[in-house]
């Protein structure tokens, strides 16, 4: 009769430990990507030469369109959200009252952007791009200044 009881304990022990751990420590990682990757177009596009038609054929439909001081602006972008969190708690509420709970969370949204400005005639007049996705998550989160 002792043998089945030992098996019962052997099976229950991992469940109890697992349940306690689940309540005390947790770590999460979340990633969200929106939009397609933005190509590097500096090699192909020339200010004063590239036309609106060529830009649309190469890059497709822009994510944003606007008019700014008489010029037409096209913006292509991809965003990457990274979120992680670590939580650690010791639930003493039932036996003592106060409990310990430590947690740290971080969220970073990075963008790859291409900005194109066209004259009313449809000729490229300005170009700018940003490769935000190249910045590593932890380094960008932990250091305030670029490159440190």
């Amino acid at each position: 009769m002792v043998f089945p009881f030992k098996i019962f304990l052997f099976l229950m022990y991992p469940f109890i430990v697992g349940s306690l751990i689940t309540g005390c420590v947790s770590y999460r990682v979340i990633k969200a990507v929106e939009g397609r990757s933005v190509p590097n177009i500096f090699a192909e596009f020339r200010i004063g030469m590239t036309t609106l038609q060529e830009a649309l054929q190469t890059l497709g439909a822009p994510d944003q369109v606007a008019e700014l001081e008489g010029k037409d602006i096209l913006i292509y972008q991809q965003s990457l959200l990274s979120n992680s969190g670590l939580s650690f708690g010791i639930p003493f509420t039932d036996i003592w009252g106060p409990s310990f709970n430590f947690s740290a969370y971080g969220e970073l949204v990075r963008y790859d952007l291409v900005f194109l400005s066209f004259t009313p005639d449809g000729i490229l007049s300005e170009i700018a791009s940003e490769k935000g996705l190249r910045y590593p998550y932890l380094k960008t989160m932990l250091f305030d200044k670029k490159g440190e």
Binding site: S19, T22, R28, G35, R36, G60, V65
Partner: protein, 115 residues
């Protein structure tokens, strides 16, 4: 291992924002000929209209997003992937189409993990 799997859970979510475009319809768009009336008859009401220096841009946008969640005892992972089908049509001041750009990318939305 048994505890690991019994305490685990996974979930998937799929969101589609409006019906997809009919790609075969896009061949009927002719720069210099197609008008606002013809385009709206073909594609319906645009998602947005933007005033430009020499006319207007009609923006048609659809999206497809897929999310994955995985909970393994003390660690949880989430992944969300959203892509768009977009058509931007440029019209001159006479409401005649001058250019258009098409991106059909929504089908690239995928389930996955964040690494």
């Amino acid at each position: 291992m048994l505890v690991f799997f019994l305490q685990s859970c996974a979930g998937w979510v799929k969101n589609r924002d409006y019906h997809p475009f009919d790609a075969s319809e896009l061949d009927k768009l002719t720069p210099g000929k197609s008008t606002v009336a013809q385009v709206t008859e073909m594609l319906g009401a645009p998602s947005n209209i933007v005033k430009l220096s020499n006319g207007n841009a009609y923006i048609y946008r659809r999206s497809l997003s897929k999310g994955t969640g995985l909970w393994l005892l003390i660690v949880s992972f989430g992944n969300y992937d959203k892509h768009y089908d977009q058509i931007v049509i440029f019209f001159d001041k006479k409401n005649v189409m001058t250019h258009y750009g098409v991106t059909l990318d929504a089908h690239k939305a995928a389930y996955g993990l964040p690494f």
